[in-house]
Amino acid sequence: MTYLAKPKFHHPALPKNALGFTHRDYEGSVSTLCAGCGHDSITAAVIEACYELSLPPHRIAKLSGIGCSSKTPTYFLGNSHGFNTVHGRMPSVLTGANLANRDLIYLGVSGDGDSASIGFGQFAHAIRRGVNMVYIVENNGVYGLTKGQFSATADRGSKSKRGLTNNDSSIDLVAVAMQLGATFVARSFSGDKGQLVPLIKAAIEHEGAAFLDVLSPCVAFNNHAGSTKSFDYVREHNDAVNRLDFISPRDAIKVDYEPGTTQIVEQHDGSRLALHKLAPDYDVHSRIAAMNYLMERQAAGEVVTGLLYVEPDPEDLHKHLNTVKAPLNTLEAKELSPGSAALEKINASLR
């Protein structure tokens, strides 16, 4: 398969965002994934979110591992630099990239095999370091690209297309991210654009480690009866704790929500999240309560979605490392080399 460029015609009537970009300006090349693959819907949601946020496309860096899911950065943000790294190691490459230039937005895209199996360690460590990023796992419970083997997020007892039963317990990446200190944790479903787009927007505006687990059925290998990651299963068992409206710093809040049902979360950058509660007692600021709720609902066979945890005032790796405000990649010899006089002093101290 060779690269396919998308035809570049701009309809004069295409709507433009605040930067004057159209939706098209956030697209990439034509997807080569299977028709109906959940991952393509996530691609569409990323495009929509970036368009709506009016982000300059080149200020985003998109990184991924290996897998069908990890291919998707080719299909969105064609004007952004992208990096398909190696299987399971996107988190470390993203961490390094972030260290080099704190001013870009980092979008990490991975799969459940990529993040829960081979890359489980890197996933965990990038989260616990608080790298300022959006980390999306396009979770289909299988290895799509290598043709349908179980991944580590496949539920115990679920059946593969070939009729095998998975006997191992599954890794719930949301629970793990929560435990590891992610400051923004959400789960959504590729088939629910209305829920997903605002979550991606909120995650992008979040200045810390934002983790998004997006159930994304694999139509080729994991969309059959007996799978717990199929479209039908997820629709039937979706337990959304809230719906989200993302309000950018520029917008005024229109307070037309029913009192008691809506919670406003203000993020560091001034953006606001209007959370319409579906589970009345769910507290989005309590890590412990969130983890309890997740465990309970999971035991009942439900798939909890929505914004599950958010810390309004997150810290990130740069804060912990106390790095200068200027991106490290802009520093030159005059800032980085201590010079010959300092070296003479060092020489003298070594005699």
């Binding site: 398969m1 860096a61 190696v86 390094g96 990239a97 870009l104 405000k325 490290l328 070296l343 070594l350």
Partner: protein
């Protein structure tokens, strides 16, 4: 006959790890240096933290032979556990210095050596009550005793103590006191000085005394590294530690107190190299420091960096493999695993510093090379250079130097309409242009991947663009030959058919061996290889000689294999001289291996055969 020697002997200290002896031993070595006499010290330590034996060996060498010599003229035996072996290892006629507090049976000594007992524990116990003080000052007491026995200048030691404790007058005085306790005991009770003596000289000059790891880390600071990701492993950890402390001193913005560096202790070596690649992809200078096992873990990523053409600097402080091998012993055993690291057709430049001065120089230069060549570059140190203090030329830096960031297209270039093809060989040197992420709103973005692509970075699995790209990478490797540090040739003053190639930490032993061989009538031209890929002068050197010895510290003659492979040389002409027991190679070893071989060769004049 007791050994007699002025400014040319080896003292070995046998200690218990964690007993605080290291600083006293180092003080001994530095005092000799302050007397103008070169020294070459080496740590010999096990992979343990406390309670196990360690040795510190100081070669005192007015002639400036900084390689290990082999043999011990004086043993300072402070470890009862290793006593028997330590005593047995003394050269006939040598000296044994020991703590005579507890009487020892005569069977524990040898009668062909001079035994010198000083009741160190008794003196320390009489003087101090605190157990920690007793232990620490015991070390200074033996230093004082040695200073009298070896006729050392006590002022030099006192001066060093004063410098070490700066203005802490109390500490200075208590150290002086302990020093004189030992000194006085010897002056009052023992015959002194002994046959081994240190006499003031002027052979040190402006040289500095520093560990290779610290020097390499300083090179990284001067070379502009701003991101370091690493995972602890002996013998490389002290490189990352040194980078941290250099940066804290030299790279903190004086106004904001913020750091012009980011150092991450990663979860493993895969993550370390991943972070380095991510940072370098994004335009920062980044490095990791590791040793053999770490290299093994990094290989998948190194292939990505090779193929996707991302700069990265890897300091490999080599230790004896395979596997965990001998983690605290030295070798030059990762040449092949680094040169061809990763699956598929890959090759990577390597630099071979001979000492801390070059570790600094190459350490800084490696970042220019990595940026210019857009590829991983290895700086190949080893435990012998990395973890030992070495006397070497002072560091130099030219303030007018700008970093060579290589071929990077800017927003202005793109606006000016320059054709940007990420993998387009515009200059014929195999090196394409790159852009940093975030450069321009509509131009110059591309997708970096480990899969095959065309000259404009578009994914393809077609054969011709793949081959085109792989051949361009070879052209780039050719370009590298003229950019990396060139080999240094030193011809013998008599014409000879024989040459020797060597590299890295073998250099001081080789230089000394050349002198020994010359005295035996064996003349050798010498070539010190300083980098891979090999400059054409390596081929020339080999064709100028019938036989070339390749001296290295590994079992499989790895440098020789690389030469055979890359320069298409008949292997029969390259004679391996291999030392790989984990101790540093010595001049004695090289001279005997080479002279045995040369004596044998004299019987069969091969030049005629070739004709």
């Amino acid at each position: 006959m007791p050994l007699e020697s002025v400014n040319d002997f080896v003292v070995r200290f046998a200690n218990v790890n964690g007993s605080g002896s290291a600083s006293a031993n180092e003080l001994f070595a530095r005092s000799v240096l302050r007397m103008g006499v070169p020294v070459s010290p080496r740590n010999i330590f096990p992979s343990n933290i406390q309670g196990l034996p360690t040795w510190y060996e100081v070669r005192i060498t007015e002639d400036g032979h900084l390689g290990a010599r082999g043999g011990i003229d004086m043993m300072v035996a402070m470890n009862p556990q290793t006593w028997d072996k330590d005593v047995a290892s003394i050269e006939p006629g040598g000296y044994l210095f020991y703590d005579s507090t507890k009487p020892m049976p005569a069977s524990k000594f040898r009668d062909d050596i001079t035994v010198i007992g000083v009741p160190l524990t008794a003196i320390a116990n009489r003087e101090y009550t605190d157990p920690r003080q007793r232990q620490l000052f015991k070390n200074i007491i033996y230093l004082g005793a040695l200073s009298a026995l070896l006729d050392m200048d006590v002022k030099a030691i006192e001066q060093l103590i004063t410098e070490q404790f700066k203005s802490k007058e109390k500490l200075i005085q208590s150290n002086f006191h302990a020093l004189h306790l030992g000194r006085d005991y010897v002056t009052l009770n023992l015959e002194h000085p002994i046959g081994l003596r240190v006499r003031k000289s002027d052979k040190v000059g402006d040289r500095i005394f520093v560990e290779g790891n610290s020097a390499a880390a300083l090179g990284a600071v001067y070379g502009g590294a701003s991101v370091c990701a690493w995972y602890p492993i002996t013998p490389s950890s002290s490189l990352a530690d040194a980078f941290t402390s250099h940066c804290r001193r030299l790279r903190v913005d004086p106004e904001t107190k913020q750091n012009k560096f980011a150092i991450v202790q990663a979860e493993d070596e895969l993550a370390s190299i991943g972070m380095v690649i991510g940072a370098a992809w994004n335009g920062a200078r980044a490095f990791t420091a590791t040793s053999g096992p770490g290299i093994s873990l990094m290989t998948e990523f190194l292939g990505l960096a090779y193929f996707a053409e991302i700069p990265a600097v890897v300091f490999n402080v080599q230790r004896a493999g395979p596997s965990t091998g001998m983690p605290t012993r030295t070798q030059q055993c990762d040449l092949i695993s680094c040169a061809y690291a990763s699956h598929g057709d890959t090759k990577h430049p390597m630099l071979f510093p001979e000492d801390p001065t070059e570790a600094f120089e190459f350490g800084a230069q490696s970042f220019d090379l990595a940026d210019r060549l857009q590829t991983p570059v290895f700086v190949m140190l080893d435990l012998d250079i990395g973890m030992n203090h070495r006397l070497c030329k002072p560091f130099k830096w030219d303030d007018s130097k700008q970093y060579d960031r290589g071929k990077v297209m800017t927003a202005a270039d793109l606006d000016a309409g320059k054709d940007f093809g990420r993998y387009l060989d515009v200059d014929g040197d195999g090196i394409p242009f790159r852009t940093y992420p975030g450069t321009h709103p509509t131009k110059g973005s591309f997708f970096t991947r480990g899969t095959s692509r065309d000259r404009y970075a578009r994914y393809t699995e077609e054969g011709p663009p793949y081959v085109d790209n792989m051949q361009r990478l070879l052209r780039k490797f050719e370009t590298a030959k003229d950019l990396v540090p060139k080999p240094l040739r030193a011809n013998s003053d008599k014409a000879t058919r024989f040459g020797v190639i060597y590299f890295g930490s073998t250099a001081p032993a080789m230089d000394e061996a050349a002198g020994l061989l010359k005295a035996q009538g064996h003349h050798l031209d010498m070539l010190r290889v300083r980098a891979f890929p090999f400059h054409h002068s390596v081929d020339d050197f080999i064709s100028d000689h019938d036989f070339v010895f390749v001296v290295e510290q590994n079992r499989d003659a790895q440098l020789r294999s690389l030469i055979v492979n890359e320069c298409a040389i008949d292997p029969a002409r390259l004679v391996p001289v291999l030392h790989f027991d984990g101790t540093p190679i010595t001049a004695r070893f090289i001279a005997s291996a080479v002279s045995n071989r040369l004596d044998a060769l004299k019987v069969t004049p091969l030049r005629k055969e070739r004709a």
